[in-house]
Assembly symmetry: C2
Homo-oligomer: 122 residues x 2
């Protein structure tokens, strides 16, 4: 998908997909749902993302105003990432996207009392 071009589409859905519809962005947003995290923490949470791809992903999310990036003047260098309000607003949508998949493709329906991490299994 040529997301960069789609960001200027007339269609609100297409523009959203251009921002979100990639392999790692939803995961990064999910990792940041409850607290800020540093680059290395995000990488460790995700397990198998390359530094190169994580860097690009974070840069794009920041450019789209979905996450914040704060540098701390200290050593070792420390950068913290967190969700903006715009990013927070995506969380219920991501939950529904995951629920849809679990419901229609999963082998059993998820129970409401299941922890979110189990639901998403990310």
């Amino acid at each position: 998908m040529q997301a960069q071009n789609l960001k200027y589409s007339n269609c609100n859905m297409q523009r959203s997909m251009a921002i979100l519809g990639t392999k790692w962005k939803p995961i990064v947003i999910w990792v940041l749902r409850e607290r800020k995290a540093r680059f290395g923490q995000i990488a460790a949470s995700i397990h198998i993302i390359s530094r190169k791809v994580l860097t690009t992903t974070l840069q794009e999310l920041e450019a789209d105003g979905i996450i914040t990036r704060e540098e701390y003047k200290e050593l070792p260098p420390r950068v913290e990432y967190g969700l903006t309000e715009r990013g927070q607003a995506l969380l219920p949508i991501l939950r529904q996207i995951a629920q849809w998949n679990a419901r229609y493709f999963g082998e059993e329906l998820p129970h409401p009392e299941h922890d979110e991490d189990v639901l998403l299994n990310c």
Copy 2:
């Protein structure tokens, strides 16, 4: 995005994005939200999609159980596409995705009484 691999991800969100996170699939689903349509009608609604890409998109959506495909034994050949229950279940999610974009990237907030076509502008 390598959607074909992602369909087998552990993560429900990633699997959904593999199915949905492309340029044309959300649009095709939206076009079919209220009534079944033929190949040519879908193409005309979307305006600028190539027959090649529309064919591929429809095949994949059918394979994922999101749309139905009915051939009619008549001439000219007639094929009708419609949403499955699984596909219908995606509509509220797509609406929210569009609303999110309109709210956080649009120049003014959409009014509740605005028609859906205006909201999505697809």
